[in-house]
Structures are given as structure tokens and as C-alpha cells.
Symmetry: D2
Subunit: 478 residues, 4 copies
């Protein structure tokens, strides 16, 4: 059955044994280790969402590939304008609640296009294999990790100039498949997934041809090692503090591949260096459209926290400086969301059938909102006041004498108890004054490309000559 | 026939005699007066656009009201998502070329909704009359002016508190119709139109009920006087200088109504003060969606001029500070356009049949781009250099000896002659360093509402409690 | 002797026993507790700075009050323009190195002015007492904490309207002194100081007169309790990670006063509610001048980290997007510093002898830079890349097998070892992606007033009528 | 006598006959031509300022060079910190009233330093000659024009690569002096001055050595031609409209030099190409310090107009959106002014005796404010409303019937007559919606360097390694 629930997912996790290290120690049972709990919870919510009667209608979509329902954001290939619009509507709402949709449909749609192009040009059955792989995923509903970013080493050097090599590369080709060595950085949630899809992240030259490689393998394949960073909040789960991170989170990993064998039916690119830029190119439109909606959702979450924080301090939208700051956040959220819809509306069909959103709009909208996230977090500080960086930890509130004092001296707006105020302030603190803050900035600034890559994408897709010609017309320049 | 061309329009103009003053003098033949030429030209282009084979497909739409083709942006009532999306696509392109689409379809769709609401509540046949009026316009293809903004006098006072009264008001009701006195400000292009539609601009209280009035009359109705401001560039049409204003422009007017009679079949609101806010409310969504696209188009025009100006100076997108500034302009244009599409996509049907775009997205997108126009004009100065405010007027270049010197000392990039450079610089100057500059700022900052009204609209439409509830969930506050 | 070193300071700490709680537990020996080590280290550096031959010349100043040298930033009353300029020059440099100068000279100079005004108006010897207190501090060189911010409870209510009362207040007046109850929030470093000076934070009304109180007492006075929050980094000191917080930091505290007796010679305000706004008023000029320089210094620190981070990634100022971002940081730092100097230059003498910097410039400069700190931290993410939120913790690098892999896959610019790169990335992470990040934002947004208080201060001090009169002159309006 | 008044200045103008063209026609008597009246008025105010008892104390300074009083901003060489601070204090106030101080003391101090350096290196008596020239100017009090910017032609090419040559260059050296050909752009007010000082504007290479030239000559020297652009407002002086430009202004000119002979005692650089960057370098500190204060003054003027405009509309600082916008303007003005003072404070002595302000602060402050001027003008539109671009010209108000209507329909705040409101709106229009607007932008964006040159200057002067070393210390990188 193509749509499974969180129970089935966690049961499957128990059957696999990836090689995983965290805080410098080897992990035997990822599914049972406290440092992975919030990550498993995050993915579990992703699975169970499809069974929620409120969301089922859009969360599940019929896949013609396997003639079965599949999870829309998880594994569906986006082939219509409607797909791309429903996707971003769901994305905003989900991200406003739990930060991330684990939207593998975007990455898979990008590889779908890229393998199509490569097969068209070189005749190798990359796309046919990838279609089969997608069918397999749609039938099994397995959790996928996305391995795209090479380590890159010295940023001025090409992959083949690094000493030693660090980017993913083919070290052997044989009858049964290929052997690869290298690493992929930022393989978010990788250790709690079942399969990892490896895809290219940049343009290459002929010298780099062994670095042009794309494939998919189970996470517990021989030779694969995850070196992890715990999700924020997972290290010391609290009661009042870190309410988000105590519930959900995303373990991060550098995934190292040491002489890993990949059978041919799982190889989606193998040496065609001039095709290496295709995944990042399609990703720049398909995934950034979602990222606009994702950051709109994050901003919605921040708005809710900002308004609640003002209230527990005794203030609300009648205080003009609070009203104005929250309105600014609303405008940023709506404009980003508007661009995610606009990009979907203005898209086109790739020959492979994928609906590709407009690059200019998606990248413009994303550039705008991602440049504001530092200000959004600063706005939370402004609304909350210094208390979020100076207040005692929740341990103090658990001490009876201190609790009594704190109930008086941390009282706030009269509609809330001190305990409620402290809970709201801890939530605010988690977002803008804890290690979680780094993730909010990181997701905004570096996930799905950077400010610079957005700018390059807009420039590349904008028809400047058309606009210069209008100016020439007025200036009577031939 | 419902779609007429510029020849028919100008012929019709000759048949009417509105009372018009400009530069303090009465104008006898508006159609023949040099100060109105650029305005008539602007409207003429609007008419002829429908006959351009390149644009005909979208420029004309079949109206079920009259079972005839009509001009989409001129008089069509927008009743579908597709309508609202095609509208903004056309709007961006047209505004990038000639600044304005004269989009009366937006204002008419707003009144369409408002009269529907008023008729629903009060049973007066306001909507029926307005439908008949629209049919009349669709059949005759007459040029309409839009009179919405009351003078407002002292901004802290209500209409009924002004001394003397200055806003539009009913001074008599009789069997045949009503008599009105007052004025409407900013009746752009009014003196070169045929009919003027008067609509409310703000909320009223019961004391203001005589100020709740909406109607339409021919511009040469007894008692109507236009006190005009010439379009920029029209006063001293030049050859090299002011190339835009020498071609197109928009005469402005304060339109004064002195005891003007309006027959009942042209009265669309009459005393129902609580319905007075309906036009501005619908306008806030319907017209601001277009305004996003309009300002995207203006930004496209600025981009073309910026790039051309850089080139005539010998520079281009390889100069990183020029590249970065132009990229910023591109991002602003695309994000505004993205929001105009997104607002259309996220809209809904009004009971009257009109497709109303999403208020939050339209106002957010507009707030963002309108706040940047000062920076856009500054960017032109930055790219052009001081020459645009210090260079001699074109008279100097017409003097043979000076021309010889100027050909040497105003030379620029080697791909352009000095004359071409001067033409480009004059174009740039017109946009960012002439009286036309004021219009660019005015269109951005004050046309179709203000930064503040956008903010109010976003706030009003944003579901804050939904977001606060998510925060409360994390904070475990009931 | 009036200038003591860190050894003397820590010896003195051993002699006192404040009542201190942290993480919900009572602390017996603050001087010997690991959670206070970074704070004691921070203050120790403040003491030893005066003995550094490089800094001695400016760090020490002769005090005419006690005819002895004293620490300039610690306890000197600023009585000349030169004082105020030397102060900010030192402040920027120190804050660029160790974040904070513990500049009690600003707070003391503010109270100096305020007590002078109160004594002038009411004849009570507040200023005389305060002068004696300052002499005592100058002679003993004791570490002072600053207790200014009342808890405020519901922000819409006055002190006397809170239920229960939470702000500091006089509960008894007797022959020997007064008894106070209440709390002061944000008493940074309080538990590692020796005396605490309590001062007013806002305007009061006659109803609030019991809340108008200022005084100073030893930190281990009966009835005083510090409820602390550990300094960032102090909880789990690391080797590579959190290099700043492992060295220096500032424990925070809510300081509660329960029926605390204060002898008359330590009472500096007692019931004169209309004088309660004097400390915040003078503070708004005197301390914010320093805060401009302080945030300039923080920005310098961020610049250094940004440039180092770029280098360990193999990039430098030749990459234009890095160059531009770092240049923006430089401009913000220099403009803030320029305003701190300009405010000093444009100051005036208070009748008490204190040199009061210009309010408009100090508040304008501070408003500008504090509004940029969210962007500064975002710039660090942009320059560093996603690695700072996804890289493994240092535990992994201590595991031999993982170290070997990490040496390859975390390599960066070829001029640096992987270990050096990791150290630099951990430093960058600490500033922009750890709980320390919250402090950077908090220091910017909420310390020494807020964006709003800056705006109010500028507005209040700006001579608007003078500028309106120039406009009236051009407009010929009498 | 070294300080003369406007009468003396205009009398002197009658004695000289520069070759001047404007609007393509030759001007015989500049002093008597309406298009030069506002410019002469501007300079006249500069002269008479020294005789105003209110300003005399600072406006005049004793020059040790000639042992006589001279005009401080006009011709004094700035040799002390106090000089540089008094200069910017006066500059802000004067620019807030009449836009420009004609601060030749800055340009002369820059050449003073540059000629000192050139004489030091090459032994040619450039500095001695320049000192004599300054003495001559101080004794005669003649009005000087500043010719610095070469035309530059194709911006990618060096001076010696332009075809034909367009930058200023030496075409002959002989016993008596040199002969020069070329042009200087942006010689503001040149045609109403008496002497023109020509100075270099950029770095050169050895190939460009003939372009390294600096000198001074009377404006009516044989071979000099001014091709002028009228000052804004001067073309059609009005009564109510354009109140600023009807009074003061600055004619602009491209000044062409055709085989102009310069005697050796007026030659200040002649072929030493590596010294050509000295004037722009010193100018970058000395003049930009003033420019910060100048733009602070412009902002003050805008603030006054903004507040007056709000009032004539019936609004004031109680309207929060107006209050917030005007506060933003105040902050920008104060921060720029603060930096101008800070740069003076942080300066140093050049070996020639000139006090050189700090480059980093001057350029940072200037970069900040100049980047905001587009927003300042947009704020005026926002506060004024659309009326400033749609209202009738003053001709209408002169027509009795229209006046009667306008008195009703253009009424505003009840404390002002309609006439007063119209006057205020026309003033506002002149600044933000007329050709004068281009000058406000031009003065901000392009005068005294650009955003880019500020950024380069800050970068060049900032000690980045010092800050990187602090980061290295924390990261334990040697």
C-alpha cells in the first residue's frame, strides 16, 4: 500500500541498521536513541498528516505511475499547475505549524527533469531507471534523504583540484554498477530515513567528469557513515523551555561514502559532466517556489509567537510599535506566499511532464523574504524585551521558594498567569535566543540556495534586451 | 460596434464640450489644444492596442452582457480567475511601455460589487442601473474618467464637519433625479474622456449621509468644471529631451460639480452612508492587484533605461555595482508581479460574480514595491552619474559650434554616438531628474492607496488568531 | 589604593556571601562555582586592563574626588568632553575584544546628575550622599552591579496598579533608613559584584510615589536574593566549540528585595516621584553614547569573524558578495562610532559638572546600528554557509576514525588545516547559531533602551519648529 | 580688504566677460541675465552671511597667511580640529536654509595637501605657488569655481585611450607656462565666479601623464567656454510655485578649454601622473565630512517641509505614520551630522598643516545618508498626498472664478488659509515632484563621490587584519 503511517515507518526503521555517529559515539538503535526522537517525531507527523481527515483531500494524490494514492509532498511528481499551487498552499500551512514538510516531491521532480535531459542527450536509460526508482518509492512509501551538497573544500577550486578529493566521485565502473567515494553535506534527517538519493550540486568541467554522478541507495548500504549533529533541543529536553525542539527537530549529518557500490539500476548520472548542472537548475525553480511558502510559514509562526508574547506582557496590536512590527512580518509572509503562487501560475511544462514554476518569481520572492529573517528575529526581541535573554531557566521555577518569588516578579499581562507568561517567553526565547535561532537563520539564508544564487537565477531568466529596446525606442536609438 | 479605435475616439471628442481650464485659461477645443495632445495620445494608444494583431487575442474579450467583444482592460467586468490573471499579465507589459493601461475594468468591477451589496441590503435598484450603465459603455466604448477621491479638506474632520463643505454631496433629491455639489480630486485624464463615474472614497457616519453618493454623467454636463494641471512634458515638447512626456502623458484635474443634475438611472448610491465604504474596500483588492503589475512594469521600464544608460557610458552588467543595482530592480519587479498573479490565484467570487483577488497578497506586494520607488530613481542617478543634472539642454546641441564641442566632451561608450548618448541621458533625466520624476513617485506612493492603507488591508485580512493558536499550542496555553 | 587587580577582586569575592540561586539550586561559593567562572573572568579582565602597559594611560584617570587614580570606565564621573571621547574610543576597542566594558562610569554619572537635580529641587542631601558613595567606591574599587529595570508586570499599568506590586518600592521609613521590597530585572553580573546600585527606570505619577526610590547596598545584604541565568557557554565549556562563552560571559539575574533595610546615607531618592525620570533621562544620553561605540565594537568582532570564516572556506574580499557584505558591516560600525564621537563633541555641561553628550546624535546613531544587528548575524550565515548549522559537534572530531574522515570532508581553504577551519566555524557558529546569538541580539535590541526609546529621545530633542520656520519662510506663511 | 560683500562681488562680476552659452545662446552680460539671477543670488548670500551679526563670529576667521580675516567656508585652509568641527556645524545650518555653502575651503584644503605631497616628492614648487594663489584669493575674496571632474568618455577606458581625447591635458609646455585643452564637467556656478581652479579627479598611469595637470585661471581667460544648464526654477520664475528655485539656485556647466594658456605661477601639477590621485584622496576625507553635514541640512529642510505639509493638511506629529516618517528623517539627519563631527574629532594633521578628518567615519556617514535620499523624497509624497502631482498650477489660482472654487476645494487644515496651503504644497512639490527633485537626488547620490567611492574609502582605511586577529585569538589560529 502506497500511503503508510508513522507506525509503519517506525517499524521499518527498526529493520535497518545505518552506520551512525552522534556526539562522537556510535549509535546502535537509531529508532530508540533519545537524540533522534525529535527527528523521528518530525517524520512521523509527515506520515500521519495524510491520515488526518482535515488534510487528507490534498495531502494524498493519485499517482498514475503506480495507479495508487501517494503522499503529495513526499513523493508525488508535480506535473500540473494545480500540483504546484496545492503544494505551496500546503507548504505554508505545514511550515507554520511544524517548520518543515520534508518535501521530497520537489527534489524528485528536479531529478526527474534532469535524468530526462541526460537520457535525451546521451541515450543512457537514466530517466527510465529513475522512473522505476520513483515507482518503487511510491509503492513502499519509504522515507528518503536528499544528498545534494558536496563538501566543496576550498571554494575557489574545482572538484578535481581539491587536495585530497572531497566531493562525491566515481572510483570504479564495472559490469554490475559503480563504486563511489566522497561525501554529501547537510543530509538533513538522513539517519532516520531509509533511502538516500544523491544528486549533483554544481556545474562541472570536463576535468571533473568523475564527479558527475547521481544515484540512490539504502541508508544502511555498506560503506555509508553518518556523522551527525543533534537536532536543536534534543540534547536536553525540557518541560517549559524549548517547546519546539523538545517535540520536533531535524538531525543533521555529513554523510560519508567509502567505496560504496551502487548497482546500475540505481545510477542516474555517470560521468556526463555537462549534465551535472541540471538538478541544481531545476531545483532553483521547483524547490525555491516551495521555499517561498516555507519561509512564509515560518514567518506566520513568528507572528503568532510575537503576538502571544506581546499579550503576555500586557500589550497588543493597539500598541503602534508592536502593530507596525507585526504588520511588517505579515507583509513579508504574504508577499513570499504570493510569489510562490505566482511562480506556479507563470510556470511551464518540461518535456518530461514536470510543471516547472517561473524561475524569476520564485527566486525574487525567496530573495526578498530570506533577506528579512534576521530582522524578523530582531523584531521578536524588540517585542519581548530583554527578559528573554536574562530570565532564569525553568529549573528555578521548579524550586518552591523561587517559584513563589517568580510568580510575583515575572507577572505580566493580567489575562495570563505567570506560568503562562514564562511558557510564552520560553517559546519566544527558543526561536530568537537559543541555538534554535541559528536554524531559523540557516534555513532562511542557506537552505535551497543563497541570496546570490537567487540573484543569478533572476538575472539569467530576465529578458533584459526586451526592456532595453523599449528604452531605445524612446531614446530613438536604433 | 463595441470596440472602437483611436480615430473614432477623437472624432467623438470633437462632439463634446466640457468646461475645461488649464494654466488659468479656458479651453475651447480640448481635442485640438497642444496641452492635451499627450493625454489624447495616451488614450488613443489604449484604443488602438485592441487592433494590434500581436495583442488582439487578450486585449479583447467577449462580454456576455452585450454579447459583443469589448476591451478587456477598459470596460470588462472581471468574473473569473483567468480574467484576473490575464489582466495583470497585460498590465505589466503595457505599463513597461507606456506607463498606464487606463484600467477602468478595475474601477467598474469595484462599483459592480458595491452596487450589488447596496441593492441587496436596501432594495434600491443601484446594481440594475449600474449593469445598464456598463452595457451602455460596452456598446459605445466611450472613454471614462474615474472620480473617486474627495478633497477631504482638514484630514482630521469628517465630511460633514468641513467648513465649508468640500466633499461631493447630494443637495437635492427630486422626482427625476438628484442634484450634487462638490468636487473630486485626481480625475486623471478626465478632460479627454467622455463620461465620468463618481464613486465614494471612504467610510462615513450617519451624520455624513448626504455625502454617500455615486453616479455617472457625461463630462460636458452642465455645472461640471475641470481645473487642470498639464501632463508632464506637454508644456514644452522637445526633440531630444523629455521623450516620454512629449509622446504620452496624463492631464490631471480637480473636477468641480456645481449644482449638477443626475437622473435616477445614473444614480448608484444615494444616502446609504454605511455602504459608502464598499467601493474603496473592493478597490483595495481588485485595483491594487493591478497596481502591483503596473509598478512591476514601471520598474521594467526603469531597468531598460538603467541598462541603456550604463551602456552609453561604456559600462554594462559586468560592472558589479551596476549589475547588483539592476538585479535589485529586477527582483522588485518580479516579486511585485508574482504577488499580482498570486493575488489572482488566491481570490474568490463575490456574490455578484466578480472575481476578487486576495487582499493580503495584493496589498503586501504593493506595499513592498511602492516603498522602493524612491530607491529605484536613486539607482538611476547612481548608474547615470551627475551628468543627468548638469548637462546642457538640447538647445545647446542645436548650436553648431557647441555641438562640435559637445560631440567630444559628452562622448561615452564607444558603441554609441554622442547624440545617442545624449538621447539616452535625456531619457534617464526625464524619469529621475525632471518634473516627470514627481509622477513616478506619485504613481507609486499615492495612486491606488498608500503604504498605510496597504498595511491596514493586510492586517484586517490576516488571520492572526490562527497563528496565535499555534504559538499557544507550543506554549501549552489553553 | 584605588585601582586594584583581579586577584584583589577575587579575594574580596571570597569575603562575601550573597544569596544566589542558579539552575534552581542555591550556590554557596559563587567565587568557586563553575557556572560563574566566565563572569568572574569577564570582570577580572576589566580589573587587569588597568595594569596593561598598552592601555594604562587611558584606562586610569586621576579622580579629584579622592585625589587618587581610578578606573576610567569603571567608576570615573565624566566631567569633560575629553572624558566622553576617550570613553567611547576605549569602549569600541574593548567591546571588539571582549564584548563589554562593564561601564559603571556611565550609570554613576547619570545618578550623579539625577541626585543633583533632586537635591536642588527638594533640598534633601541626595547628591551629597551620592558623592560620598562614589568616593567610597573609588577608594575601595569594589565591583558594582546596576539595578535599574523594574519588572513592570502588565506593561499597560502603572507601578501602583500592578496586582500584586512587583516594582521596587519603599515599605517603611524610619529614623535609621528605609525598608524596600520589590525586584530589579536584568542585574547583569550582579552575583559576582560587591555592591548593587538601585536606580529608577521610568516616569511616575503622584500615586506611584512609594516607587520613587534609589539607593545602594552590598550584594549580601539581608533580604536580597539573586535568581540567576547562567552565562552563555558556561554550562558546558568545550574546547573547540563556544570559544567566547568558554572564556567570558555575563551571568544574568532577577534580583529580589524582601524587606531590605537601607540606611539613610545610602538612600539617593525617596518618594519624590517627579524626579524618578531623571536617571533614565540622563542615561539616555550618557550611556547610549557608549552603546553606539559598544555596538561598533561588536560589529568589529563580527567583521573579524566574517573575514576569517571566508578565508577558511577559501574565499576573501576578492569575492564581491563577501566584500560587499563585510563593507556594509564596516560602514555600520564606523557610522555608529562616528555618532558616539559626535555626541560627545556636541555635548554640554550639566550644572553638577557632568559632561552630557548630545541626545539626538547618540540616540540616532544607536537606533541605526541596533536595527542592523539581525542583518549582521544573517550576513555571517551567508558568508559561512550552511555548515555552521549542520556540522558535527566537537565530540566527533575527538573520535579517531571520525577525525580522519572529517579532516578530508571538512577541509576548506588550502591555507588552513581542517582543525583551524573547524575552530573558525565553531566561533562563527557561537556568534550566529548558538544560544549566544540571543545575547548578541538582546544586547543590540534591548540593552540601554529600545528602538522606540531612541526615537522618542530624538524627537524630544529635535528643534522641529526651527525647521518648520524655514519652510514657512519659503512658503511665505507668517 | 579680505572679506567683501555681495555688492562688491556683483560689481566685480560686471568687470569680467567669460564666454558663456545657455539654452544654446551666447550670453553677453552674465550679471544681468535672468537665467543667472538665482545663481548670483546664491553666491551673494554666501558673501553677505559674513556680515550677519548672528553668524559673524564663526563665519569669519583670521588667516595667518595674509594676517586678515577671511570667510571660513569660502577660502580658509582648515588647520585644526576646531576648524573642521566649526565648519560642519555651520554647514548643516546653512544647507538647511539655502542648500549649499559653496565650501571652497574644502577643495582648497585638498589641493593644499596634494601640492605639498607633489612638491615633497618632485621638488617642483607646486605648493609654494598654491600658497601664493591662496593668499591672492584671501586678499581679493574672489568667487572661485571648482573644476575637478573630467568628462571620462568611455568609462572603461583610460584618459589616454579615449578617442578623441576628452579629459583635461597638457598640449604644450613652454618657458612662460603651459597650454591645456580638454574640459571639466559639473563646474557648478562657474559662470558666476571669477576664478576657476582645475584639479585632478582620478588615478592615472604613466601613459596618461599629460593628463596630470592642475592649475587656476580667471574664468574669462582666452579659450575657456562655459556650456550651461540653467538652475532649476530659473527658467520660469513664479510667485507661488518653485519658491526655492525662484530665489536661489546653481547654474551648471561643462567648461571647455581650447588651447588655454596657464602661466607657471598658476600651475600646481604638470605631468607627475602618480600624484594625480592626491586631490581626490584628500577630498574623500575633507569634503565628504562636510557633505555629511550638508545632507543633514538638506534633510532638516525636508523635515520642515514635511511637518508644514502635514499641518496644512490638518495633520501633525500625533498621526503616528507621519510621526514615524518624520522621526526617521530626524534620525538620518542626526546620524549624518554625528558622523561629520566624529570624523573631525578622529582626524589627524597632514604634514602640510591641514587637519584631515577620519576617512572611515566621513565615508560611512555619507554612504548611509546618501542612500536614503530617495526614501526621503518618497516620504514627502507620502505625507503630502497625491495633490502635489495633480493640483493646478498657480495660473489657475490667479483666475478669479477658479480662485473662488479652489479656495473651497483645496482647503486643508483649519489653521491655514487655502492660499497658505497651496503655497506649502507648491514648496513640497518643488522638492519632491519637480525638476528640482533631480537636484536633490543628484546632490545626494553623485556629488562628492558616489556610494561606491564611499565603500572603497571605508574598506581601504579599515584595519581588517586587526579584527581578524581577534577572531583568530578566539579560534586559536596562529
Amino acid at each position: 500500500m502506497a500511503v503508510t503511517n508513522s507506525e509503519a515507518y517506525t517499524e521499518r526503521l527498526k529493520q535497518i541498521s545505518p552506520r551512525v555517529f552522534i556526539l562522537g559515539e556510535k549509535v546502535d538503535q537509531v529508532w530508540n536513541h533519545p537524540l533522534f526522537r525529535s527527528s523521528i517525531n518530525q517524520l512521523s507527523k509527515t506520515y500521519d498528516y495524510a491520515f488526518d481527515p482535515k488534510h487528507r483531500e490534498h495531502a494524498i494524490v493519485h499517482s498514475p505511475l503506480v495507479d495508487e494514492p501517494v503522499r503529495r509532498l513526499g513523493i508525488h511528481i508535480q506535473t500540473s499547475k494545480e500540483d504546484s499551487l496545492l503544494k505551496v498552499k500546503m507548504t505554508r500551512e505545514i511550515c507554520a505549524e511544524r517548520l518543515c514538510t520534508q518535501c521530497m516531491s520537489n527534489t524528485m521532480s528536479s531529478v526527474w527533469c534532469a535524468t530526462y535531459d541526460a537520457e535525451e542527450k546521451y541515450g543512457e536509460p537514466y530517466h527510465q531507471r529513475f522512473v522505476e526508482f520513483i515507482k518503487y518509492l511510491q509503492k513502499t512509501d519509504k522515507a528518503m534523504a536528499w544528498g545534494m551538497m558536496d563538501p566543496k573544500g576550498d571554494r575557489r577550486l574545482k572538484a578535481s583540484e581539491q587536495k585530497p578529493f572531497c566531493d562525491m566521485r566515481i572510483v570504479e565502473r564495472n559490469a554490475k554498477g559503480i563504486v563511489v567515494t566522497g561525501a554529501k553535506a547537510h543530509t538533513t534527517l538522513g539517519p532516520v530515513c531509509e533511502e538516500i538519493v544523491v544528486a549533483p550540486c554544481r556545474s562541472l568541467t570536463a576535468e571533473d567528469k568523475d564527479f558527475a554522478v547521481s544515484f540512490a541507495i539504502p541508508v544502511d548500504t555498506q560503506g555509508v557513515t553518518f556523522i551527525c549533529r543533534p537536532a536543536p533541543g534534543s540534547r536536553t529536553p525540557m518541560n517549559m523551555e524549548k517547546p519546539i525542539g523538545s517535540s520536533i527537530g531535524a538531525v543533521e549529518a555529513m554523510t560519508v561514502f567509502q567505496d560504496v557500490f551502487v548497482p546500475w539500476d540505481r545510477v542516474f548520472l555517470c560521468g556526463e559532466w555537462d549534465m551535472n548542472d541540471r538538478v541544481p537548475m531545476y531545483f532553483a525553480g521547483i524547490h525555491r517556489q516551495s521555499k517561498c511558502a516555507c519561509l512564509a510559514g515560518h514567518t506566520d509562526l513568528i507572528i503568532g509567537i510575537a503576538a502571544l508574547t506581546a499579550r503576555v506582557n500586557g500589550l497588543d496590536m493597539k500598541a503602534t510599535h508592536i502593530r507596525d512590527k507585526i504588520t511588517r512580518l505579515m507583509i513579508d509572509a504574504e508577499a513570499a506566499y504570493g510569489c510562490s503562487l505566482g511562480a506556479g501560475e507563470e510556470g511551464h511544462h518540461h518535456p518530461s511532464g514536470v510543471w516547472v514554476p517561473d524561475f524569476r518569481i520564485a527566486n525574487a520572492g525567496l530573495n526578498n523574504i530570506r533577506s528579512q529573517v534576521g530582522n524578523h528575529l530582531a523584531a521578536l526581541h524588540d517585542i519581548a524585551g530583554g527578559v528573554i535573554v536574562t530570565m532564569p531557566t525553568e529549573h528555578s521555577y521548579n524550586h518552591p521558594e523561587l517559584k513563589e518569588l517568580m510568580d510575583v516578579y515575572f507577572q505580566g499581562g493580567q489575562n495570563y498567569t505567570t506560568k503562562e507568561r514564562l511558557r510564552a517567553l520560553h517559546l519566544c526565547q527558543e526561536v530568537c535566543a537559543s541555538n534554535f535561532t541559528g536554524y531559523f537563520l540557516g534555513w532562511a539564508i542557506n537552505a535551497a540556495g543563497s541570496l546570490q544564487t537567487n540573484e543569478m537565477a533572476v538575472r539569467a531568466a530576465y529578458d533584459l534586451e526586451k526592456r532595453v529596446n523599449i528604452a531605445k525606442g524612446y531614446a530613438q536609438i536604433a
